[in-house]
Amino acid sequence: MPARVGVVTFPGSLDDRDALRAVELAGGEPVSLWHADPSLQGVDAVILPGGFSYGDYLRCGAIARFSPVMEAVIEHARSGGPVLGICNGFQVLCESHLLPGALLRNGGRRFTCLDQRLRVENAKTAWTTAYTEGAEVTIVLKNGEGRFYADERTLDALEAEGRVVARYLDANPNGSLRDIAGITNEGGNVVGLMPHPEHAVETLTGPGTDGLGFFTSVLEHAGLRS
C-alpha cells in the first residue's frame, strides 16, 4: 500500500492541488486535509502548501498556525512524523515554532516568480534522501515574503548542525540570510522550503522534474518507518 501524504487546505491556500498532484506523481496516495478538521486521517506525512492563508494580511502564516489542524500537525511533527512546509507552509512552520527564524518581505520589495537554481545541502532529511548532498537542482520560486531571517547565533547553529537543507545559487532572489532556501529541525523530519518543488514535477508544466525527489524521499521514509 502506498504511503499516504496529507495536504492541508487553509482558506487562501493556492498550491494545495499541485502538492496533491505531486504526491500522486511520486507514487503516493494524496489525502486532502481541511484546516478546521483536527484529524490527520492517519496520514504518514503532512504537507503545508503554498498560498496566502487568510490573505496573509497580518504576518504570513500567523493566523493559519491557530487552525485546529495545526495542533495535530504539531503533535505529528513532535513525534517524528514528516512535515514539509512549502512557501506559505514554511511561514506557518516558523510561526508554529516547529522551525526557527522568520520569513520577511523580499529584499527587492516585489513578488518574484523565477526558475531558481538551488544546491541541496542536506540529503538526510525525511524529504531529501532522493538527492545527493551538493546536488544542484532547478525549482520554481515564487514569493513576496521569502527572505529567511534569524539571529546570528541561530544561523550559526543551523549551519553547524547541518540543518540548512537548500541554498540559493546564482543571484540571491530575495535577500535571504546566508542564501538559505530551506531548513530542517533537529530531527530532520520537519522541513521548510521557500521554493516550490510541487511545480517542478513534470517537464510539461515546470522547469523540469527536479522537485519530484522531495516527494519520493518522503514515500521511502514512510515505508521505512512503517
Partner: protein
C-alpha cells in the same frame, strides 16, 4: 408645493434622459431610483453610444455550434470538447487605474474574475494588456509600479496563473493608461450558469464582502466621462475607486464553486461596477421581472450609509445568488464553512416590478427591464478624422534607413532594447505563472497554453492590439489586432475558435472618435467572420482622452484556441543546433506605423500593413499541422519589429545562435524590419524539412529557407553578427533600468 430640482446632471444624466425616467415612472423618481437610473443608463453599463455598432458582432457572428453563450451574458462561453466549456472575457479598468494604480488594477482583476465565476466556471488563468505613457516620462514609473504590483497582489493571491499579455509605452496614453484584464474559466458544459432570477419565492442571497462606501459613482462618473470633464482633480475621485481584498475573493470563488457543484443555486450574478443596482435589476430583468429586496438587510461596513449609497456601492468581492427556499439552509451552511458572509436580502416575486425597501419604506418601485434594457441608445454623429489624409500621406518612405551592416546591427540592438520590444520579464516575473500546475506556456511565448484535462487537451490564449496601426486606419488596425492574436495562437499549435475584445477609445461625443470606433468595430466584425472566430464578449471603454486629445484608438483582441494535446505545443525558443530556419509568408516593404518608424524616428504616418485573412488562415493551418505532426521545434510570429526582433527573441529564449541569409536581391533593411502581417519564422529539424516544405508547397504558401540554428551569435550573412550575450543584455536591461 414647490418642486425641487433633482440632481440628475450631477449623477451624469442628460436632460432628455431625465425626462424619459419621468415618463417611464409617471412620477418623479425617488433619490434611490434616480441613483439606479444614473448608474444603469451610464455609458459604462448601457453601452448607449456603442450599442448600434456592436450589433455588427451579432449580425456577423457565424453560425457556430461551439458558442453556448455570447454577448450580453457576463462572459461568452464556448465548448472545447471532453464535456468541457471555456469562458473568457477581457475588460478595462482604465480610469480607476489612473486615479489609484494599485487598487484600480487589482480590482480590475477581481472584477473580471467574478464575471467568469458568475458563468459557473472555475477561473484558471489571467492575462493583461497594459498601456502607459512614454517609458521615460515623469509619472510613468509610478503608474507602472502601481498597476503591476496591483495585478500581482490580487492575481497571485487568488492563485491564478498569469500567462501572457502586452505592455506598451506610447505618449498617447500619458494621462490615460489602459489596463485591460482578461480571465479564462473552465466549466462542465452542463453547469453553465446564467444570471437570471426566476421562480417565485426563490431567495435572493448576497454572498461575500460587506458593503462600504467605496466605489460610489465608479461607473456613472469615473468611467463615463473624461477627467478634464470632472470638476475636481482626479485625486478627489479616489473614493470612486474600489478597494480590493483578494483573500475574500478567493474564499468567494471556492464557496461559489462548491455551491455550483452541489446544484444549490439557480442563478448567480457578480457585483462589479454598479453594485447591487446592476445585479438586482439585471437578474430580475433576465428572469421573470419581479424581485423584492429588503435593502436594510445588506451587511454594511459603514452603518451610516444611505439606501442610495448601498445601491450604488461598488464594494468588491460580492455575488448575488438566487436560491430555492429548500436549499437556503444548505447554502448558508456552505458559506459559513468557507467563512464567506451570506445574507438573504430578498426574494423573487410574481409581477414585473423591482421593489426595494429600506427599514420598511418602499424606496424603489421600478420595472427592472427599464433599468437594464431600455436605456438610451444614441446614434452619435461621426466624422472621418480631419487629419487622417495628411497622416496617411506622410509615409515612412522619407525616413533615413540604415545603409550598411554596421547601421543595421546598431538598429537591431536599439530596437531590441526599446521599451516596447524589450523583454517584459521585469513585469511578468512579478506574476505567478505556475500556480494550478497546468501552465504549459506563458509569457514571453506567443500565446499562453493551459492543460485542461489529464488526457492533455488544452487551450491557448493571446491578447493583442496596436494603437498606432488603428490610428492610421481603424478598420485595418482592428483587423491587424485580430490577425496577430490568431497568429499567436496558431504559432503555439492551437486552432483559433473565439474572440473577446476590449475597445479603448476617446470620447464618443467627439464625432471623429465615434468614426474611429465604428470603423474599428466594422473591421473587427468583418475579420471575425473571415477567421471563423466570433466575438463572444468584451467591453467598451470610452472617454480615454485628456481635453480634446483622444488616445490612439486601441482595440485589444483576445483569441482563444484549442489544442488536442498540449504536449505537442510549439515553443518560440531556438533550442536545437542544426535546425533549419524557414520564413513563412510574404514580406513587403511595410513600415507604416512600425516600431522602427516610431522608435527610431518618432514617426507615425502612412498606412499600416495590409491584412490578408486567407493568408492568415493558411498560415495558421500550416502552423497547427506542423505542431500536430511533430514537424516543428520552434515557431514565432512576426509582428512589431519584424523578422529581426523575432530572431532576437527566439535566439535569446533558447540560448542558441542563428545564421540567416538574405534572399537574392532582397533589401536587407526591409527584410529585417518590415512588419508585414501573415508571417512566422519556424525552426524545423533537418529530418522534417522536406515534409514541412512540401506541405507548404502543396498549400501554395510561401516558405523560404533563410538559415540555420547554430553557434552562439545571431549572424545575418554579409551584413553583421551579434553575440548572444550582447543580444540578451540589450533585450533584458531596459525595463529594470527604467523601473528599478
Amino acid at each position: 408645493m414647490t418642486t425641487i430640482e433633482q440632481p440628475y446632471a450631477e449623477l451624469g444624466l442628460k436632460d432628455d434622459e431625465y425626462a424619459r425616467i419621468l415618463d417611464i415612472l409617471g412620477r418623479r423618481p425617488t433619490d434611490e431610483e434616480l441613483a439606479m437610473f444614473s448608474i444603469m443608463w451610464s455609458e459604462h453599463c448601457s453601452y448607449k453610444s456603442s450599442k448600434v455598432h456592436l450589433r455588427r458582432f451579432g449580425d456577423a457572428a457565424v453560425e457556430n455550434a461551439r458558442v453556448l453563450a455570447g454577448i450580453g451574458e457576463n462572459a461568452g462561453v464556448v465548448e472545447v470538447g471532453d464535456g468541457l466549456a471555456v469562458t473568457f472575457k477581457v475588460e478595462s479598468h482604465n480610469h480607476p487605474s489612473f486615479v489609484e494604480p494599485y487598487q484600480g488594477a487589482a480590482t480590475g482583476v477581481g472584477g473580471i474574475v467574478r464575471d467568469i465565476l458568475a458563468m459557473g466556471a472555475r477561473p484558471v488563468a489571467v492575462m493583461d494588456s497594459l498601456r502607459f505613457g512614454d517609458a521615460t516620462a515623469p509619472g510613468t514609473k509610478r503608474l507602472v509600479d502601481g498597476v503591476v504590483a496591483g495585478i500581482s497582489f490580487y492575481g497571485n493571491c487568488l492563485g491564478l496563473p498569469n500567462v501572457g499579455g502586452e505592455v506598451v509605452f506610447d505618449p498617447t496614453y500619458a494621462g490615460n493608461p489602459l489596463v485591460n484584464a482578461l480571465c479564462l474559466g473552465v466549466l462542465p458544459v452542463e453547469r453553465l450558469h446564467l444570471a437570471a432570477a426566476s421562480g417565485e419565492g426563490n431567495v435572493v442571497v448576497l454572498i461575500g464582502a460587506k458593503t462600504g462606501r467605496d466605489g460610489i459613482g465608479g461607473v456613472s462618473v469615473l468611467a463615463s466621462a473624461t477627467f478634464a470633464a470632472l470638476e475636481e482633480g482626479s485625486e478627489s475621485r479616489r473614493p470612486a475607486v474600489q478597494v480590493g481584498d483578494p483573500f475574500t475573493e478567493k474564499v468567494l470563488i471556492e464557496c461559489c464553486l462548491e455551491l455550483y457543484e452541489r446544484g444549490l443555486v439557480t442563478g448567480i450574478q457578480d457585483l462589479g461596477g454598479a453594485g447591487l443596482t446592476c445585479a438586482t435589476s439585471e437578474t430580475a430583468a433576465k428572469g421573470s421581472g419581479g424581485m423584492r429586496v429588503e435593502l436594510d438587510r445588506v451587511p454594511l461596513r459603514e452603518p451610516s450609509m444611505t439606501a442610495a449609497e448601498v445601491l450604488a456601492s461598488e464594494s468588491q468581492e460580492r455575488m448575488l445568488a438566487i436560491v430555492r427556499p429548500e436549499h437556503l439552509d444548505e447554502v448558508l451552511a456552505t458559506c459559513r464553512r468557507w467563512g464567506a458572509l451570506a445574507t438573504p436580502i430578498g426574494e423573487v416575486t410574481s409581477g414585473d416590478r423591482l421593489v426595494v425597501t429600506w427599514h420598511g419604506d418602499v424606496v424603489v418601485d421600478v420595472p427592472p427591464k427599464a433599468l437594464a434594457d431600455d436605456g438610451p441608445v444614441y446614434e452619435r454623429p461621426m466624422e472621418r478624422p480631419r487629419d487622417l489624409d495628411a497622416l496617411q500621406a506622410d509615409t515612412p518612405d522619407r525616413l533615413p534607413r540604415p545603409a550598411n551592416g554596421a547601421e543595421l546591427r546598431a538598429t537591431l540592438l536599439r530596437l531590441a532594447a526599446s521599451p516596447n520590444l524589450a523583454s517584459k520579464r521585469w513585469v511578468t516575473d512579478q506574476y505567478d505563472r505556475y500556480v494550478q500546475g497546468n501552465t504549459v506556456l506563458a509569457a514571453p511565448e506567443d500565446a499562453g497554453v493551459l492543460r485542461l484535462t489529464e488526457s492533455g487537451s488544452g487551450v491557448a490564449l493571446a491578447l493583442d492590439g496596436n494603437g498606432r496601426y488603428t490610428r492610421l486606419d481603424p478598420y485595418r488596425g482592428a483587423q491587424l489586432a485580430l490577425a496577430e492574436a490568431c497568429r499567436n495562437v496558431a504559432a503555439v499549435g492551437a486552432v483559433p475558435i473565439a474572440a473577446t475584445d476590449c475597445l479603448n477609445f476617446g470620447s464618443p461625443e467627439d464625432p471623429q472618435v465615434m468614426w474611429q470606433f465604428a470603423e474599428a468595430v466594422r473591421g473587427l466584425a468583418d475579420g471575425c467572420v473571415e477567421m471563423g472566430t466570433p466575438v463572444i464578449g468584451g467591453n467598451v471603454s470610452f472617454y480615454n482622452q485628456t481635453g480634446d486629445v483622444a488616445i490612439n484608438p486601441t482595440p485589444v483582441v483576445g483569441i482563444l484556441g484549442v489544442i488536442d494535446d498540449v504536449a505537442r505545443r510549439t515553443p518560440m525558443a531556438f533550442t536545437d543546433e542544426g535546425d533549419t530556419l524557414l520564413l513563412l509568408g510574404t514580406t513587403r516593404d511595410e513600415l507604416g506605423g512600425s516600431e522602427w518608424a516610431w522608435s527610431e524616428h518618432r514617426h507615425l504616418g502612412g498606412l499600416p500593413p495590409a491584412v490578408d485573412f486567407a493568408a492568415e488562415k493558411a498560415l495558421g493551418e500550416i502552423l497547427v499541422a506542423g505542431s500536430r505532426d511533430g514537424m516543428l521545434s520552434a515557431a514565432h510570429d512576426l509582428a512589431d519589429g519584424g523578422l529581426a526582433q523575432a530572431l532576437v527573441e527566439s535566439c535569446v529564449r533558447g540560448g542558441r545562435g542563428a545564421r540567416v541569409v538574405l534572399p537574392e536581391g532582397a533589401d536587407p533593411f526591409g527584410w529585417l524590419f518590415s512588419e508585414s502581417a501573415g508571417r512566422a519564422v519556424v525552426a524545423v529539424p533537418r529530418s522534417e524539412e522536406l515534409r514541412f516544405t512540401e506541405m507548404c508547397a502543396a498549400r501554395g504558401f510561401p516558405c523560404a529557407r533563410i538559415g540555420v540554428v547554430v553557434g552562439d551569435e545571431l549572424e545575418v550573412q554579409g551584413q553583421f553578427s551579434v553575440p548572444l550575450g550582447e543580444l540578451r543584455s540589450a533585450w533584458d536591461a531596459t525595463l529594470p533600468s527604467l523601473f528599478g
